[in-house]
Structure formats: C-alpha cells, structure tokens
Amino acid sequence: AQRVTQPEKLLSVFKGAPVELKCNYSYSGSPELFWYVQYSRQRLQLLLRHISRESIKGFTADLNKGETSFHLKKPFAQEEDSAMYYCALVGSARQLTFGSGTQLTVLP
C-alpha cells in the first residue's frame, strides 16, 4: 500500500524566514512524488514534481529515498506563499495518493 504523511496540519513562519513543509511516504516501489498547492479561493494546482528537479516560486524539494521523504523548502518565505500544500505520490495503478495537507501561513 502507498501512503503519504504530512505531520504538520498548520505551519506559521515570518516573512523572510526559511520554511520547510515535511512529507514522508511509504511505497515499496520507485515512487514519483509531487507537491500541489491551493491558494485561497483558487483551484488545486501542481507546484513541482521530483523528476523535473526544478525550482518553482523559489521552492525546491529533494527526494530522499533513504529517509523516504520529499520535504518542500524555501529559503525566504513570502506572504503570497500562504496556502494549503499537499504532497502526493504516484505508485501502483497510476493512483495519485495525497497527504492530509499543511496549511502554511506567512506572517508579515
């Protein structure tokens, strides 16, 4: 079975501070991992995926197979980063499994 765990339901940081949203997964095969974001009153959308090894809006995420983690990081948080963030995994049968989400609030 595949499972995604986001241990923090709520996370608050001050503007300019570093931010890390934690994501751990369990999956027996080789996973494909994603971060999705939902800004207030907007639809859920893809932020980044591990296979692209990209930085989007200053965010990066590295897949650590040893720790089965895919934490999302940004060195300097901005107020517009306030949103709900979901970590997701594609495993067997192409089913995309989401974590329970972390609500990030960036304080001025």
Partner: protein, 115 residues
C-alpha cells in the same frame, strides 16, 4: 483553453436524496480522477478512469457511490441516499496519460452539503 469544469459549484441536499455531480475534463485528457476533500482529512481518492480501461473504483467508500464516464469525456459521480458524512468538496481532475508523471489539472470542485 478551458480548464476542468465541474457543476454544480454548490449543492445542498436533504439526507436520503440522490445527487449527481458533473465533471468536464480538459479536451484530450484521457485520465480522469474524482477526489473528496474534507476538512482535516486531506484529499481522499475515489475513482480513476483511463481511456477505455475498466475504472479503478478502489476508493469509493460505499456502494452508494458510483461514477460513469461517457464517451471518454464527461463524468458523473452519483451518490445515492446521501448521508451527512457525505458532506465535502468533491474534486475532479484530468491529466494526459499514459505518462503517469503528467500533472493533474483540477476543477474548482462541488461543495456538497447534506442536511
């Protein structure tokens, strides 16, 4: 082009009634997903359609839930004899497949309230 469209955006129904939720995916997207978003519960997978293959129904919570996808495009999610615990936002998403790394494009969801 147009994104994923869901209707209605809001639905209030009485307990015991049946409801139908509609999803229009992005044209050309062969994969279609339904998820349920509940407060504090994250996104719960319900069902997945891929082309002409048999759908993956493993996430449907009970036999009161069913879904169809006609002509490989529009999908309807039906909930029979609704219960209060069915209250949630129902999200539809589509993606280009067979590349499973294709991102999902979500609709705005249907907020279902069962009174």
């Amino acid at each position: 082009g147009a994104g994923v469209s869901q209707s209605p955006s809001n639905k209030v129904t009485e307990k015991g009634k049946d409801v139908e939720l509609r999803c229009d995916p992005i044209s050309g997207h062969t994969a279609l997903y339904w998820y349920r978003q509940s407060l504090g519960q994250g996104l719960e997978f319900l069902i997945y359609f891929q082309g002409n293959s048999a759908p993956d129904k493993s996430g449907l919570p009970s036999d009161r839930f069913s879904a169809e996808r006609t002509g490989g495009s529009v999908s309807t999610l039906t909930i029979q004899r609704t219960q209060q615990e069915d209250s949630a936002v129902y999200l539809c998403a589509s993606s280009l497949d067979p590349n499973r790394a294709s991102p999902l494009h979500f609709g705005n969801g249907t907020r279902l309230t069962v009174t």
